[in-house]
Symmetry: C2
Subunit: 424 residues, 2 copies
Amino acid sequence: MAVRKTELVDVEEARRRCFAWAAPREAVRVPLVEAVGCYTARGPELPEDVPPFDRSLKDGYAVRAADTAGASDDAPVSLIVIEEVAAGGWPGRSVEPGTAVRTMTGAPVAPGADAVVPLENVRLPAGSSGRRGERIELTAPVQAGEEIQRRGDDLAQGSSPIGAGERIGPREAAVLATAGAWEIEVIRRLRVALLSTGDELLSGPGPLKPGQIRNSNGPMLAAMIRMEGWEVRDLGRCSDQVETVVRAVQGALESYDVVVTTGAVSVGDYDVVPHAMERLGLKMLFRKAAIRPGKPVTVGVRGDRIWFALPGNPASAFVTAHLFLLPTLRKMAGAKAWDPLRTTAVLSGRPSGGPIPLTRYWRAQAWLEEGRAVVDAGREQLSAAISSFLGANALVEVPPGQDPGVGDAVTVWWLDLPSAPIGY
Amino acid sequence: MAVRKTELVDVEEARRRCFAWAAPREAVRVPLVEAVGCYTARGPELPEDVPPFDRSLKDGYAVRAADTAGASDDAPVSLIVIEEVAAGGWPGRSVEPGTAVRTMTGAPVAPGADAVVPLENVRLPAGSSGRRGERIELTAPVQAGEEIQRRGDDLAQGSSPIGAGERIGPREAAVLATAGAWEIEVIRRLRVALLSTGDELLSGPGPLKPGQIRNSNGPMLAAMIRMEGWEVRDLGRCSDQVETVVRAVQGALESYDVVVTTGAVSVGDYDVVPHAMERLGLKMLFRKAAIRPGKPVTVGVRGDRIWFALPGNPASAFVTAHLFLLPTLRKMAGAKAWDPLRTTAVLSGRPSGGPIPLTRYWRAQAWLEEGRAVVDAGREQLSAAISSFLGANALVEVPPGQDPGVGDAVTVWWLDLPSAPIGY
């Protein structure tokens, strides 16, 4: 049986080729609320100072610090309240020596004042309620600047506290909204097409015919891509003949940034995907990586389009999606940091089997115990076992020739935060 | 100045009251692809075995193990190939003694066979290509069951490997799709209304008037809720008068599961939210929690609706959204584990200030260093500082009266996975 030999590419070299090729798509200007989940095209320059004026941090009185020098219980300083300013209001008068402006939290500090004395630090003379036209007494000196947040102190107009390639989430939305950046430039959402090849696959509902199995890769990849915030279209199943694959991928490459196929990398002795890539004029970034599972993974590009040909077996598709597909797509979507978090952890369980000359990736469960990362890869690692996915929030990376045991430090890729323990 | 005293509720007691009230919304039956991000209403019973038939794990030959007893290089066992079955095909004949069926990876194993011998372990006599009608030779005995995945071995029909309250992500989608669960019961997506109160707020674009500031809480909360996968409607701004708040919240409580207001918890000396809750016939779950920031947070319920009145200052809204709002909403959305992950970590930086009789929450940056959790809370913690949000993927919880120093172990709430370091 003649099996064509292909040189296996080291996993980091294969990933590097993907990342070297991947460039962010076009920038679009969108309302902030629509940018959630997208990556910034450039660091948005803040249009306004935050706060936009000197503002009081407390309910109190805006005063001149100089007026309060020497104030004490026995020798209080008496000031007359000349105005009241609520949040949203604007002072009409300046604080002159001997006067104060009642100023609520968030309200502008009147000109002339350089400190705010909180309500609770003010003494009211008999008969006074501390309102406009009445008197207040201060029994201690205050420092200039106290309880005032200066204009631009929090965020300065023209600054770019959020750089390029940052994902817009709740924190970024708050910062941008408060500084008036209601429209920002982000990289547009990717458009991804999925295609599952294999004559044995049933894609969609309906009864199985003898010998058929159901397509799990389409729904899995669709969920991954949707949760990243991109558009995904599952084109379903096509036969694993070169001709059919060429036709299906050709159409998809015209309408989508990314085509992801599963299966048909090779059928028996015949290399379907390499032939289809050649026919379509794609340049192969790499063909087969030195990993298990997922060895047949093949990636090709044409112009600004990319075709990820993932192996069809579920574990291989899962691992290669996390190693190659999602990081490359994040870079195309504009992300500055596109890889999942990789750390060391203590191995608490491992599957059977010995060292091999490939990099192994074990589906695993990682968590933090007393502040230390622990990972359990004790479950069945059979490529065909979909049940091994459940609870797998991490991959353990085992370099070629190595074979870590329980208690050893290993490299972990975190795919999700561990779940919290069940609540009340 | 008469300030009404309210008993502060311990943070865990306040959270417990929310969770005790929160019950999952209605279950709906939806196509699997639409269920992504939702929580299962019950553990879906798998309609089919996976695999649905005994299937070959390798390209090879289905044989009777008994036939191979005693096979060796010198005394090979010779079998005649009676049929070829590809993935998607179905064997038409049984394997009788002395015969084999050429069987590709994923193809059904013919009746009578109890093992598969991989292609590479088979010797071809001169002139044979191992196809139908030709002979193959085995040079070693094989064990019954080798290279066969039995029907139901991976996932058994009728089992429920995914329980109630699990979120549908890529892994769950793969498991359910492969077992034919193309429709499942999930808790429907929540509908959440946001309302920002405060006469000083400008909600939406347009120039600021003197004394106005921009609404950052609406965009922040909208992003949080959208990223959880729920529907959110930002109703914008309303004035912080009891009458206005009552009217706005009344309408929202009719159309939404959850109303979230920010600000107006109290205005000066007047308790707007408690009065509005009373007017609307809500039962208060708690009023003011013993925390900083976020002390004025107040939560009320009426029937199956809930109103979260978060304080208006951005840091308070941020912290109380993570402590109260999101966990309660996750429980209402059907989650079994609704709280963020909480672990210990080593404190590498801390803000100024000493112990207080409240539980403090510092916005912080947490990461893993050599497999150990480390957290830096060294940034400005001013409630009015929105810039303190940036990069804050964690909260450090400091119990009342405590004041941890650098190097101490502290409790950390993880809001996001730390970012990976920048790639190539």
